[in-house]
């Protein structure tokens, strides 16, 4: 067993933890954090896969840099969307 296997397992464990929280939590901020934990798990799998060979796989690392920026942008948007005051008073009931 090498340290790569450990990190791979850790990555999928993080992903599953995030998924569990996403399904069970109700608060918007917590769900956003849950998605971020899922993302971190995915990235950990990718970085560990990159580190399994010498020299380290630069393609996977570059993909993770891209993925990180994409995830961070989406998170920033989600955070603003979740906490912008909505005038609840004049919402006519519209539930399906």
């Amino acid at each position: 067993m090498s340290h790569i296997s450990l990190y791979l397992l850790g990555g999928v464990a993080l992903w599953v933890l995030g998924l569990h929280a996403l399904m069970t939590q109700r608060n918007a901020l917590r769900r956003i954090m849950a998605v971020n934990v899922m993302g971190s798990g995915t990235f950990m799998v990718m970085v560990a896969l990159a580190a399994r060979m010498t020299p380290i796989d630069p393609v996977l690392q570059a993909l993770v840099v891209t993925g990180l920026v994409v995830a961070a942008s989406a998170t920033a948007f989600a955070l603003r969307l979740a906490t912008t005051e909505s005038p609840v008073a004049d919402v006519d009931r519209e539930r399906e």
Binding site: L19, M46, A78
Partner: protein
């Protein structure tokens, strides 16, 4: 290829210019869209006369760089995207009820167009992840144009779409870890059927099904699509959900081994029938007009899923043609339906289905658009929906052992007939018509009708299209 690239570049450049100069001129977008449509048609023409083209971005060949491919299907989809975007922007510019005129709808819809074009052209698993993310973010940003009421469904959509992307990305990571390539065709050459690959395919499939709102992962769609402004709902239902569907089709039709594909195909086909039935049932019961149309999207995606399932189950390439004909016909019909519904809703001042009483009298054009589009969704001849269903049914009817599947199609047809006639009967109830709040906007109603007319005209065009697809493949 240069025409296809032009068709991708024009909307992107237009979005940049609109943002830089802070203009919200719809006419600029319409002109740019026309140019993009012409470019897409030139690309289609090039593919028709020549052959499929490849482009290695940056001249780095596939395992190192990203590959674009312009085949028949990609060219048709480029034209389809540009056409639908053009129709919707003309409506959004002309309609008095369009709530999108003085907003960021214009640059956002251009970005949507560009990201879809990038998705159709790309053949790289990771690049698809970014285009999917682009699609999701644009969709959410466009939904919230309609104001605070849409924030909650938009947030749910955003979170689910993010989770779905990560599901997809984990699948991509597994595939790369196993085979070391990201290009779909190179992957198809080396892929073997083992548990790890199946797991990766499962992850890809779950992520894409959630993004495409395929049953049973469709729950987010009705609220999100119904909450958006009318022009946006039309774009979302007609275009956005088709992006992940394209990737799903691509992944399964190129990567899955026959044995595995047969097993999964049955599941897809059953999910498709379930979508047809449950989506149709929900559309029959909802009191809200736009939610009804949105549920009809869920139901109609069931046909695509059924076609995908049967494609995998029988390994019959005819089914791919049926799938994409459904997508084209549904896209056009759904634009018409959403625009007609939005126009009636805005004029009558209520979101309820019941408010349409007597609409055939007060707003005959919009109602007609709705009904004509509904006819294509049901599959009445000679509409585009009919042609698609015909291509799907032909192999089903040849062999008696396939007849149970035809029963599923029949159920779906009945369900869609049910919700279309539900609206139509209310509209023809002229005893006590609800009076419109404003004057009906005739030009806008004609614009809502236009896509429906095109979908009926598609019946005439589709025979050469089908023959061409059969000849050269998709």
């Amino acid at each position: 290829m240069s025409a296809a690239l032009l068709s991708l570049t024009i909307p992107l450049a237009t979005a940049m210019l609109l943002l830089l100069f802070r203009t919200r001129a719809g006419t600029v977008v319409i002109v740019a869209n026309t140019a993009s449509l012409v470019a897409a048609m030139l690309a289609l023409d090039a593919v028709m006369t020549g052959a499929r083209e490849q482009l290695s971005l940056g001249n780095w060949d596939a395992p190192l760089g990203i590959r674009f491919e312009l085949g028949p299907l990609t060219a048709v989809l480029l034209v389809f995207t540009a056409l639908i975007h053009l129709l919707v922007t003309i409506y959004a510019q002309a309609s008095r009820h369009s709530k999108t005129r003085d907003t960021d709808f214009w640059p956002l819809s251009c970005l949507l167009h560009a990201s879809l074009a990038a998705l159709w052209l790309s053949r790289d698993l990771f690049n698809w992840y970014i285009t999917l993310e682009l699609l999701g973010l644009t969709a959410v940003a466009m939904i919230i144009i309609s104001g605070p009421r849409s924030h909650l469904p938009a947030l749910r959509y955003l979170l689910l779409s993010l989770a779905a992307s990560l599901c997809y990305l984990l699948g991509v990571a597994f595939l790369y870890g196993r085979y070391g390539v990201l290009d779909i065709r190179m992957l198809a050459e080396v892929v073997v059927d083992d548990p790890g690959t199946r797991l990766a395919m499962l992850l890809l499939t779950l992520g894409l099904m959630l993004k495409a709102a395929l049953w049973p992962l469709h729950q987010w769609l009705p609220a999100a699509h119904a909450a958006a402004p009318t022009a946006v709902s039309a774009l979302l239902s007609a275009l956005v959900v088709k992006g992940p569907l394209f990737i799903l089709w691509m992944v399964w039709s190129t990567l899955a081994e026959p044995g595995f594909a047969r097993q999964a195909g049955v599941l897809f086909a059953f999910a498709g029938i379930a979508a047809l039935v449950s989506g149709g049932w929900a559309a029959l019961r909802t009191p809200w007009l736009k939610v009804l149309v949105a549920y009809s999207t869920v139901a109609q995606l069931g046909y695509a899923l059924l076609a995908l399932g049967l494609l995998l189950y029988w390994q019959d390439p005819e089914m791919s043609i049926a799938l994409w004909l459904f997508v084209l016909a549904h896209g056009l019909a759904k634009v018409s339906m959403f625009l007609g519904a939005g126009e009636m809703q805005a004029t009558l001042g209520s979101r309820r289905v019941s408010a349409l009483k007597g609409a055939s009298q007060t707003m005959p054009l919009a109602m007609f658009a709705f009904a004509v589009a509904g006819g294509s969704l049901i599959g009445l001849p000679p509409s585009g929906g009919f042609i698609a269903k015909w291509v799907l049914l032909q192999p089903l009817l040849v062999e008696p052992s396939h007849w149970p599947w035809a029963l599923g199609v029949l159920l779906g047809t009945l369900a869609s007939a049910g919700y279309v006639f539900r609206v139509v009967t209310i509209a023809f109830n002229r005893a006590d018509p609800s009076s419109p709040g404003h004057d009906p906007d005739t030009a806008a109603q004609w614009l809502a009708m236009l896509p429906a007319l095109i979908v009926w005209a598609m019946a005439l065009l589709s025979e050469p299209l089908i023959l061409w697809f059969q000849e050269v493949g998709l």
